[in-house]
Amino acid sequence: MQTRSKVVASFAEAVADIKDGSSILIGGFGPGTPHNLVNAIYEQGAKDLTLILNAAGTGGGSIRVGNVSVTNLLEERRVRKVIMAFTASTHPSRTSILEELQDGGEIEAELVAQGTLAERIRAGGAGIPAFYTPTAVGTELAEGKEHREFNGRTYLLEQAITADYAFVRAWHADEFGNLVYRGSERNFNPIMATAARTTIAETEQILPIGSFEPEQVHTSGIFVQRLVQIPPDGIFHVAVPFTPPRPSAPSGGH
């Protein structure tokens, strides 16, 4: 039996059909951020987008280091709505473009606890419309949400998230779309891959079918519609700020 290759020749081709008004899940938490796909949608010009991701900046982590990121899309007012775990700077002396847009009423920003965000996406990919979580009970985020008690504890009803597209980054793929993530690249990527109608994966290598042992595969190829191999001049990694380890414990003085 033949399997159809999902390999697309370029990032531009991979995102060419994304229309204005589309919703896109964007993976990453530092490592595992699909920088090349974010760059491609920026170049492609789509607007009125709904983006679901952990934080702006490089697209996954909240750090921006030179490359095009979700921040650029925000700056060009091409995003109608975001659903994220960080919609404002965590330091009072700093403000972000997202805060400016919120203050000006130019964007809808839905702030979600990170575990609730992850579970809403997982539920979306698993055919579960909603679920109850204890997270955020008694906070501003609980306002207006259905509360229900189970075994004496209060929970909030949270609804699943699905999207038109998911941008994910993996280490290796095979041509069927099976994905393997390296280290903490995994983060949101496997769940986002399941929660979109069209999942586009960027990977360092695309290997022939049969290259993986079935037990190795993290994301089944049935969840992946398009694959792009990062070209030699593509973005492989974005440096993270480095904090050198401090091996010795204090002796008690300064």
């Binding site: 938490f29 982590g61 404002a88 997202l98 990170q114 997982r122 906070t139 380890p245 414990a249």
Partner: protein
């Protein structure tokens, strides 16, 4: 005696000494992360991070760091022989199911009733930075807070009730500041250990709720 505010390292070392053998611990971004440098050598502590590293090791040196392995603070760390890597939803399943023995988090404000606030920097401000804090705060077995005792201008951050929107209600068990170790008691705080050279009255003057001295009050103990 010379007044000595605790350094961040000293605060991290002191709070890490509270961890019990076999605990699963999540260390928040920033100051709490420093606890990983001071884990008690005689105890086996499993570090959990929101991005799915279960049982990760110390921060990596420049030579050891890879762009593939970071903790929730996006700091390169080492994997260990027993590390497992989960995806984000499973990593939070660990949290939500109550498997974290402790979450150490930073805060803008703590309240005597065990509430704390760490996701919004101003009342009425739009947006916020929650990250994993609400899940951890709502679901861990105990929450320890690590923070500077006051704002730079001396305004107390240990209050009777939070002014900022809270992250979770009634969950804080211990508060570690540069002035000592405290336990919320409902309407005030019990001071368990105090920074060298400070009197309870001096600490009280910098605290926004009544302080009572523990009968066993002592200077902060660092092993």
């Amino acid at each position: 005696m010379e007044k000595t505010r605790l350094t961040r390292d000293m605060m991290a070392a002191r709070i890490a000494a509270e961890f019990q053998d076999g605990w699963i611990a999540n260390l928040g971004v920033g100051m709490p992360t420093m606890c990983s440098d001071f884990l008690p050598a005689e105890k086996f502590i499993v570090l959990h991070s929101e991005n799915g590293l279960i049982g990760y090791g110390r921060a990596a040196t420049v030579e050891e760091a890879t762009p593939y392995v970071v903790n929730a603070g996006i700091i390169p760390v080492l994997l260990q022989d027993y590390t497992a890597i989960l995806h984000h939803a499973d990593a939070f399943g660990v949290i939500r199911s109550g498997r974290l023995d402790v979450g150490v988090l930073g805060a803008y404000e703590v309240a005597a009733n065990g509430d704390f606030a760490n996701w919004k920097t101003g009342v009425g401000k739009k947006g916020g930075g929650i990250g994993g804090a609400m899940d951890i705060a709502s679901c861990a077995q105990r929450i320890y807070i690590m923070m500077e005792h006051t704002l730079r201008d001396g305004t107390p951050r240990m209050l009777r009730r939070c002014k900022l929107p809270v992250t979770a209600q009634g969950v804080v068990k211990l508060v570690m500041t540069d002035l000592g170790l405290f336990e919320p008691t409902g309407e005030g705080y019990r001071i368990l250990e105090i920074a060298p050279g400070f009197s309870v009255d001096e600490v009280q003057a910098l605290t926004g709720a009544p302080l009572e001295a523990s009968p066993n009050l002592r200077e902060v103990q660092l092993s």
